[in-house]
Subunit: 329 residues, 2 copies
């Protein structure tokens, strides 16, 4: 079920929960609505950016897999997306990113100030909505996950010492930054199913999230700007150390390592230097090795699904794994 399979389109795997996903978009608009013009403008900008709703999809499919897909899951799915968007807004502000999904970020379109406040606005609305649902359980999961994501962000700020950045630190970083929310989405989706199914879906989401983020980091090494909507090599340009580089480094010659160090100590590394390091990472097997790690996590996610009742939702969750490691953007 890994790289030998044809790419799965998100639209196809979302087909099973399409009506619910449309309602998630409506719920999102309802939850964030504000009469205050500045917030209304920022909301409008965020809503027209239209994310892929991958985390709500996971939540709804997890609910469907345990036969508990009710209207409350639609609202829960909207709060998960809201937490995701709040994180992206702060992330982009922290990273000074100008583009997201090919569109200006809140910090670029408005200001850093507005990005900081909007992130808080969106996150507090997610909490208000979870409280309104009247159940402490999803709140417990989502507040823990949000906190883990902030720790992941801190780990990311700290990930700059290229010759001393072990794979375990990378795993801890992407677990906190990405896998925790996907895991939380699956857990919350299954939260009034059996404890066994719920645990399986939590672990499924964790492995899926690891595979998803490794693939994301690979795209920075393999895809051109027209596909990702962002320049290839952006992570290297920003001195972010990701798995392909970590796995290639031990195979590099002293000269090649010196080149990597030169890039990392250059505040504005030239394109030629970035392209050289990308080529070296590929030549030293970093890309293939990172793909293999993503496939390992994907395989573990598949194992977790075996515990669930067979059916269309379980199949769609399996497709989510394939999508996570085969996607091109």
């Amino acid at each position: 079920m890994t790289s030998q399979v044809a790419p799965v389109s998100l639209a196809v795997l979302q087909h099973r929960v399409r009506p619910e996903l449309d309602r998630v978009s409506d719920e999102l608009a309802r939850i964030v609505r504000s009469d205050f013009p500045l917030i209304g403008d920022a909301n409008a900008h965020l809503l027209q950016m239209r994310g892929k709703l991958f985390r709500p999809t996971l939540l709804l499919l997890a609910a469907q897999a345990v036969d508990r897909l009710d209207h409350r899951k639609v609202t829960l799915a909207a709060t998960v997306e809201l937490i995701h968007v709040a994180t992206l807004v702060h992330d982009d502000s922290v990273d000074h990113s100008a583009l997201r999904r090919g569109q200006p970020t809140i910090n670029a379109r408005f200001s850093h100030q507005i990005a900081v406040i909007m992130g808080d606005y969106l996150y507090s609305h997610a909490i208000i909505e979870l409280v309104r649902l009247g159940d402490l359980d999803p709140l417990r999961v989502m507040s823990r996950v949000t906190n883990e994501m902030t720790v992941g962000e801190m780990r990311e700020l700290d990930a700059h010492d290229v010759l001393d950045y072990p794979e375990e630190s990378y795993d801890a970083l992407i677990m906190a930054k990405t896998a925790s929310l996907m895991s939380g989405a699956c857990e919350v989706g299954a939260h009034d199913g059996d404890q066994g199914d719920r645990d399986a879906l939590r672990r499924y989401g964790l492995h899926l999230g690891m595979a998803f983020q490794i693939t994301d980091d690979l795209l920075d090494y393999t895809e051109t700007e027209s596909v990702t909507g962002k320049p290839t090599g952006l992570d290297l340009r920003e001195h972010k150390i990701t798995l392909p580089l970590i796995l290639a480094l031990p195979q590099m010659s002293p000269e090649e390592r010196a080149t990597v160090e030169r890039l990392m100590s250059d505040l504005r590394p030239p394109d030629s230097l970035i392209n050289t390091v990308i080529a070296t990472v590929e030549a030293r097997g970093g890309i293939a090795a990172a793909r293999a790690r993503a496939a390992e996590f994907a395989a573990r996610a598949h194992v977790e699904l075996q515990a669930l009742p067979a059916g269309v939702a379980r199949e769609a969750l399996a497709d989510c794994i394939t999508y996570s490691i085969e996607r091109r953007s």
Copy 2:
């Protein structure tokens, strides 16, 4: 009970809840603890800044006033302070402030990135802790209040058109930014008391908060750097429109208003211009009128206290009002 009364010291009015306040500090340290070094460093910096714990004091006194001061109130008081600190950390980052309580802010001591992430870290820990207490009611109050504070922040960013900034907008701003959290602290403190007491304390906190913030804004016009720990006229320097200016403007001559406009359109207004406007605001009665507004809100807060059982806690809450409008820093 207003300006004719001798200043009340915070230490004296905190005397009634001193043991609980000491435990609030311990709880704060416990809740934010992290093994990740960068977060540990930021925590250590924040904890040694030692706020005045005014909001926890209000919460504990409210609990004492309705005879429900138990150990859970200590944890609730810590979460209220945590939400306050999280807001200050983001606030300082948004405002690019370098000093807070005479010490470097997180954005100054570490970076803007770390300030954004730390604020999220602290806020999500407050939610985790509220969830752990297992009661949706304080969560409902605190998530609403946090959201109101973000709207207040947005209002503040928008408060720059000096000739078209009505007092109602200022009231809405300080209600959201300051009074909402003080009101929430009082409401949560009283939350397992009678509904009537709880409502009275919520309204008490709201009026107290309004008086508190008007007084804060007055200090910017009246106190010198050595007392507030920040330069006098900072709000004017940053083009923040507060009540003394709003109330003085209608009494100003066209020349005086032109001077105010000149300050507001000057990206780096010189000290002389700031001093001129401060003098004009005082001469046109803006400071006296703002003091009168603070006294009005203080009086309304006193009225709410009359509904509560008489006793030392109610007296201490009355002292909190006096402190709010008499303080010099």
